[in-house]
Symmetry: C2
Subunit: 409 residues, 2 copies
């Protein structure tokens, strides 16, 4: 089950990036579960990672290795497994992840710090190092510029469909390609980055700018989605610029820069929205827009309080225009000096609350018409400032409970 | 469905408090839905109310009327309806609640400020004033000292069973009785008081002490439970001392005071735990104890982050010892300078996490044995301070979704 159609794209080749995908038998048989990205020596790499205090061993190691490769030149690799998060595994988890890096480094002939490991799946179980290391020869043999779709499938956990986005944009008279894949369906309330997302472009982007772009764009895409409010121990969002295109180096003063930035942001938005649409048990894609708040934080606090309310989420699942639950959630948001008489709330284009009570024009029928749709927008206007924030979320359905009650069985 | 047995007590008579209960047909037919408490002129009344910014009209009015009766002497009344919360109803809601008070005041011959109104049920619908006013004659006729059990049933909404607690305690050589009822099953994360709770004693308690007692004791009982993290617009917890017993006035320096306070606290704990046990769809009664935190707030932040995690709650529902989810929730709690290597987590008497990773002694079988039980204790030791807090919560089951997706239909 997932909301609406996700148009999984035909990925164009992207020079300077090769991908390998194999079945290593990590948790389930007969599914691709091990993915390798290989980047040209000309590539720059940047990323943002989970802020969960219990972040997994591979997250720590990837951060360290990222610092090593920056500015050094030479090839770089992402080694990604699904089926096991290698989180909550203590020192053993570090040893296991490093052993996989070392084994791959010997195979491809580079320093082990050039390998960034990523893991997703069940928490607290030992990484099956042997299965991963035994599959590395076949994995490197499978490297190809045409494996984006297989990679999107190869990083899935409870996802019901692979997630991809691609676009091309003209820059300085040359074409630039941006390809990306993401995964995630539960434990989604990113705090810095989301589950796993890998975006690459053949543009040439200097490291400091690349680092800023991934941070700023993740902030208004992956850091604005929530499914269940739970922040993963393994989130990472990576952006790689291979520099293989003929376009000039990306420069903020170039006339095509804003257009390039918008295209990159659209890929991030598409990939993050694809995660919400495929949220565990999701039957609704919900946009919550908080307007005229005093600060960005206040707008986000209000938005997330509504987005995380189990009562709002179950009403959305039931297509029940029970707007009293939105009001009650809003009422417990951490806002100081809250003047209810200024607040208005709309469901799509139907005004439901004005001046702290039901809008005169509201009828149950009009509310029902909006709630019956798969895509619903809730707009809260606080009328006390100039800040606006938008976040995206899902409903809470029986399937969410089923998926998460049966995950390990 | 509810967890364990709730031993609904045989209530003793409590002098100075009479209760009326009738069917007013407010939302459903053939159920008692209107309750009246009448207190002797000697009674003192105190209470704590929801902090939801959108608190309902009756909450505003009860606060105002409570201020009026304090120190004035004369009879006081609680008029309680279920089936309609009279919340999110704007000015109309105030007019409606006051009209009910005025109508009852004329009937019993007192100022309308002596009537404290309480409403619970669906939010955002107009209070059926006529139905309530038409039932007032029968309601006052039904006043009796023996109606505690009917009143407990008469204030239920999605509760599956009535909730009551009673005790007697000796004070100054005389017996004091404490009777209480509560209701609530969803939208439970009290922030000051909980859903509805009415506790009365025949003790004589001076108003300032009574006010402090209800606040302090609600703080460590009703303000430590959560079912879904949603704070009701209508929460109220009232404590009445009729002064009808022969015992001397309660005084903090009396040798029997601590014993009296413990008895009162036990009634509050029983009533608040009864709400958790009857939580919407609950199959588990979960105690979360956070030890050695730096501050009370830190202990509560950690406790509630775990208690509100949908992934922890669905694992509890599945009796799945998926402790990685507790770890992940803990990792996103708002704690500064968090040293994971100090943290330990136990499930009952089974140590699961030590030093940031799985405890050496832990086995899946031992974890399963604890998780298979209906009553589960999660102990988190942060080893960084002296604060300890305990909160109580439930799992997240299919029935929670069913109940809240179908509530208005």
């Amino acid at each position: 089950m997932a909301v609406g159609v996700h148009n999984f794209p035909d990925f164009p080749e992207l020079s300077g990036v090769r991908i390998g995908v194999v079945e290593a038998g990590i948790k389930k048989q007969s599914r691709k579960d091990l993915v390798l990205f290989e980047f040209d020596a000309s590539a720059n790499v940047a990323g943002v990672f989970t802020k969960n205090a219990f972040c997994a061993a591979p997250v720590h190691i990837s951060k360290t290795h990222l610092a090593f490769i920056n500015g050094r030149g030479g090839k770089a690799y992402f080694l990604i497994n699904t089926g096991n998060a290698n989180a909550g595994t203590g020192k053993q988890g570090f040893d296991d992840a490093l052993q996989c890096c070392e084994s791959l480094a010997q195979q491809v002939g580079c320093e082990q710090q050039r390998i960034l490991p990523f893991s997703t799946g069940v928490i607290g179980e030992k990484l099956p190092v042997d299965k991963i290391c035994n599959a590395l020869t076949e994995l490197t043999k499978s490297l190809s510029v045409n494996n984006w779709a297989d990679a999107a499938a190869g990083i899935m956990t409870t996802d019901t469909r692979p997630k991809g986005a691609t676009t091309t944009v003209s820059y300085g008279g040359h074409s630039i390609t941006i390809n990306g894949i993401s995964k995630g369906a539960g434990m989604i309330k990113p705090n810095m980055a989301t589950m796993l997302c890998f975006v690459a472009t053949d543009a040439s982007i200097p490291q400091p700018l690349l680092k800023r772009l991934v941070s700023e764009i993740a902030d208004c895409s992956f850091n604005r989605i929530t499914i269940d409010g739970d922040t993963s121990t393994n989130d990472a969002c990576m952006l790689v610029a291979s520099g293989a295109s003929l376009a000039p180096e990306i420069d903020e003063s170039h006339e095509d820069f804003q257009n390039f930035r918008r295209s990159l942001q659209q890929v991030f938005l598409d990939l993050s929205h694809a995660i919400v649409r495929d949220g565990e048990g999701a039957t609704k894609f919900v946009t919550i827009r908080v307007e005229r708040a005093r600060s960005q934080q206040e707008a986000l606090d209000v938005g997330y309080t509504i987005a995380h309310s189990p009562l709002v989420k179950t009403a959305l699942f039931a297509s029940d225009p029970n707007w009293g639950r939105i009001l009650a959630a809003l009422g417990r948001a951490p806002i100081v000096d809250f003047d209810l008489s200024l607040v208005s709330i709309s469901l799509g284009d139907v005004m439901i609350v004005e001046g702290g009570g039901r809008a005169e024009s509201y009828t149950e029928e009009r509310g029902q018409t909006v709630m019956d749709q798969e895509e619903i927008t809730i707009i809260v206007n606080l009328d006390r400032g100039a800040s606006v924030e938008t976040i995206w979320t899902t409903d809470l359905s029986h399937d969410y409970v089923t998926i998460n009650a049966e995950y390990r069985t």
